[in-house]
Amino acid sequence: MNNMANETFRNIRLGVFVVVGTLLLVTAFYLVGNKQNLFGSSFRISARFYNVNGLTQGNNVRFAGIDVGTVETVNIENDSTVIVVMLLEKDVQKFIKGNAIASVGTDGLMGNKLVNINSVKDLGLSIKEGDELRTLRPLEMDEMVRTLNETNINIKVITDNLRSITEKISSKNSLWNVLLDTIVADNVKSAVVNLKLMSNDGIAITGNLKELARQMRYGKGTIAALITDTVLSGRINQTIVKLEKFSDTAAVISGDISYLVQQLKHGKGSMGVLLTDTMLVHDLNKSILRIDTAAGSFNENMEALQYSWPFKKYYKKKGKK
């Protein structure tokens, strides 16, 4: 009967083999599920964003830099709101306060999108199931570069407008035309509005860039090595300084011009005064010069930035289009 024993022994080994294989698979499923929060106790919270920058289901949620859950759903609520529901581990519930702020970020420069939950200093009550977090608009490189570019184009348009105005003012023949031409006045007015807008944009961008530079310096993200490229970070800092300066200039110029327009519009002083007021023309010329130099140096910076690594990709893509 030794073949019976043999058969049994064989079946035992087969059993071990099958059980080991199955256990491995089950363990793998459990571990994968664990990372996705499918098993174990969890709770749900949500946050409303203006823009989620490609955040999708399954992206990680970080609290104080630790993965604590995943994004369960991303749904559009209306034209300006996206609601993100997150599934978090029960264990961290007591640490997240109601006034914490959620923001959409990126794991490193090229990594996956994720939701960062940052706590705010002052104490509050712990968050509850179903609560909604406050949000921050995410820092988005693409958008930033886009705005910078627009600013650049705007500057050019404004400069051109102003230049044509001055030219018209300078040439004596068309003096009357200038004064009668309400379009010119409108042009000037819109130039001013643009300039103001732009200077606001500039300020926002500067803020973003500062944050980016800070992140780079602290080597957030996986490919830290690439980011600590000091040349790049230096360049970005330079851009910030220039931009700040430019915004100031823009503010000054817009001030000048609105004054000018006001004078034109309300016909302050006699027409003759206006016509002979070479000072004004001079002023205007100076303004244009100022804008030109500001825009010039800004352009230089933009160009430098284009060849820096993280932006290269963006420009390449743009170039293809």
């Binding site: 079946n11 083999f17 664990n34």
Partner: protein, 255 residues
């Protein structure tokens, strides 16, 4: 000439399809040869384990070592476990397992059934009141369908272990960090399709081996030929199925 060859291939494909249809019509009707099924599971699954494990281990090690330089170039050395685990689990371990089994099991079944055929053992079984199709074919096809996925899971694990050792040749990745990164990277969309396709690999290997062996004819020389063409066809089928599986999972967005 070419026409003849194509006709032959198509005729064979039709034959294999009919054989497969017969498998489905007979395999799931009683009586089920459970003892024989277990025996075949033992030979097909357990007996292939050492070979599969060694190959998987080496593949894991080698892939890791080979991937490192490129990642280092990008300064993304820390991504090594992630990258390696995805390529091992999704593609390399299942396909290597299937190929090894196509070689070992496909030729084994082809030769065994072929020699049973030419020495009239199959007829003898039928005379002894046994449906040889159930006893020989169904058990082998089912055993390889169910054992190869298990082998593939073990191959996944072993190759990842090889990857762990490979990652530690130049760098230092702790045991915990390695597995943390692996399971952080792997999603159900990586594991489930890769396991599901191995069922089809197993089925193909079993059915081709059996078809070739069962239809072996020309004496002992035919046995060798059956074994050989079983290996060739089933290896080819493994790749075709792999291609299909990848395309399907891509279509279903499981990637």
């Amino acid at each position: 000439m070419a026409f003849e060859a194509i006709k032959k291939v198509l005729a064979e494909a039709g034959d294999i399809a009919r054989f497969t249809a017969r498998f489905f019509s007979e395999a799931f009707r009683p009586r089920f040869e459970f003892t024989e099924f277990l025996r075949q599971c033992f030979f097909i699954g357990y007996k292939s384990l050492p070979l599969v494990a060694i190959t998987a281990f080496i593949m894991g090690l080698v892939i890791t070592i080979q991937s490192r330089p490129t990642l280092v170039e990008f300064g993304a050395e820390s991504w090594l476990p992630k990258m390696v685990s995805v390529s091992l689990v999704r593609e390399i371990a299942p396909v290597i397992t299937a190929l090894i089994c196509a070689g070992k099991i496909g030729s084994g079944i082809g030769a065994e059934l072929g020699s049973m055929k030419v020495t009239e053992q199959i007829d003898s079984m039928e005379v002894s009141g046994t449906n040889p199709f159930k006893y020989l074919i169904a058990t082998r096809v089912l055993a390889s369908t169910f054992m190869i996925p298990i082998l593939a899971v073990i191959a996944d694990a072993v190759s990842l272990y090889g990857g762990f050792l490979g990652a530690n040749i130049h760098g230092a990745v702790s045991w915990t960090l390695f597995w943390n990164q692996v399971f952080e990277t792997l999603q159900y969309g990586d594991i489930v399709p890769s396991i599901l396709k191995t069922y089809f690999f197993g089925f193909a290997i079993g059915i081709i081996g059996c078809y070739k062996g069962y239809n072996s004819n020309k004496g002992t020389e035919g046995v060798g030929r059956s074994a050989n063409s079983a290996v060739v066809i089933s290896s080819l089928l493994v790749f075709v199925i792999d291609l299909l599986a990848v395309q399907i999972s891509d279509l279903l967005n499981l990637t």
